[in-house]
Symmetry: C2
Subunit: 291 residues, 2 copies
């Protein structure tokens, strides 16, 4: 863990562009031809990001969706993706799911590379977008008093993962085929004080936004939208599970969101803890910690 | 082989942008904000693209250099790179070599992702550039009568690879630390009828340019620049070995190159073979064939 953390910090030290301070966390934003180019690169690894034996069509979909979710959080329209693909089993299924996702989100495959390798496969996707509003939303703008909003439910991916893993016959769509909040991101970008997508868990991602904005978020569990079939006893766990890909954002106090969203708390002056849940400092890991 | 070829074709079928017809071969070129954005993504896999035990600083350098070489062939100035990195051994050496390359080529690390995985590691790099001349050079513009030029020696990487593999003490720099021809690409872009970088071997890359341009190239082995220590008996082999990262280009007949370059043949009306070497159709594989 400490070795990996040291590496990330070393890579961040190399990163001369301010956007790259968010290496492994966030998009880069570049001025290009007078417009703001938003670019992100995420990887998925067999056995870590997908279950061995999982339908590669779903893996392809998720690879596209998770990268586009990063663009959504910047209020960016996707302009294309590049694929880094390790050849292996079910390549036809991968192509099928990739086509589904590219069609669903209306984004072209611009290029990429394919390689052969033994062992667990890794996949990479680079997504490019055009920001529709300046300044481009970041994690850093939340101010004390700003309400904290989320655009969708927390915990549906966790339940979907378990249904798929256990073969229970339950609905696994939310885990297999997440939908990036592109339209919501476009509508919200002109209004938000801070925005990001929730990928690693509500609490850890809220903590990251709090750190970037130098505030603390008060979160009210009773206000968080959970799926109807989530037992109340699992709500704290769901807030620590990732893969839901809702947008998390702050708005000025009097501003109503232009799309469906749930107010789950508010920002306050920075305290020692970045998040407070139901009035107390949450215990244990806040979510999935990236390598 | 046929399965892999089918996959590449399936991916190309998904690629709606014309540039992506060159998936796994070439850069994409996108109009963005009135400028031409050039973007490429290449992967390297342990045991395939680098020797197990090789210094990861050299691997990092090569990952950057090979992607920038793709930009060079488009006459593009690099504006940044994104890294997809699998954690493993020698991560500190990787960071060191990455820093060397970013400094040497004056390009910022914009972002990326890191993952953990067991088994052979794979690395991906996305490089972004700004084209300095329109139309952006492609492989498709060579015309019968155009002389064929190359900017650097062929075979140095092969000798370097062997020196490294065998621990002979010979100079392995050309294999370990290739230098993309960025300045040459900028100078050549306004003049060329076609241009690409030589990555998989002179003959196979020339054949790709010939196919894209619908011409046949006559290549004269005696005119090809080889390293002084390459035995003449190995020249045909060297023309089938990759990793040299020179630029291969055609110019109109009366145009002199603005940088050091060697005229190694010329384009003629298309025949059945894309390349003719010393007056005959070359036998056997022309170079490294991508998966």
């Amino acid at each position: 863990m400490s070795k990996e953390f040291a590496l990330i910090n070393a890579l961040r030290g190399l990163a001369t562009h301010s956007a790259a301070r968010g290496l492994a966390d966030d998009c880069a934003v570049l001025d290009f031809g007078g417009e703001a180019l938003v670019i992100t690169h995420d990887m998925m690894v067999e056995g870590i990001h997908w279950l061995p034996g999982q339908d590669m069509a779903d893996v392809a979909w998720k690879l596209v969706a998770t990268n586009l979710s990063d663009l959504a959080a910047k209020g960016a329209e996707p302009v294309g993706v590049l694929l880094g693909f390790t050849l292996g089993k079910q390549d036809d299924r991968f192509v099928s799911g990739l086509g589904d996702a590219l069609n669903a989100f209306n984004v072209p495959l611009l290029g990429g590379d394919t390689v052969s390798a033994n062992g667990p496969r890794s996949l990479g996707l680079t997504a490019l977008g055009r920001a529709t509003h300046r300044p481009v939303p970041s994690r850093a703008g939340a101010k004390p008093g700003d309400p904290l909003w989320i655009t969708g439910p927390i915990g549906a991916a966790m339940l979907g993962f378990e249904a798929l893993r256990d073969g229970s016959g339950g609905d696994s769509t939310a885990f297999r085929r997440p939908v990036p909040c592109l339209a919501e991101g476009l509508a919200l970008a002109p209004l938000v004080t801070a925005m990001m997508d929730v990928s690693d868990g509500l609490l850890i991602d809220a903590a990251r936004m709090a750190d970037a904005s130098n505030v603390t978020f008060d979160i009210d569990t009773a206000a968080v939208p959970f799926p109807a079939d989530l037992p109340p006893s699992r709500r704290q766990e769901a807030m620590r599970w990732g893969d839901d890909y809702a947008l998390l954002l702050t708005l000025p106090p009097a501003t109503a969101p232009p799309c469906p969203a749930f107010c789950i708390g508010h920002a306050r002056m920075r305290m020692s803890s970045p998040v407070i849940v139901d009035g107390a400092v949450p215990q244990g890991a806040l979510g999935y910690v990236h390598d």
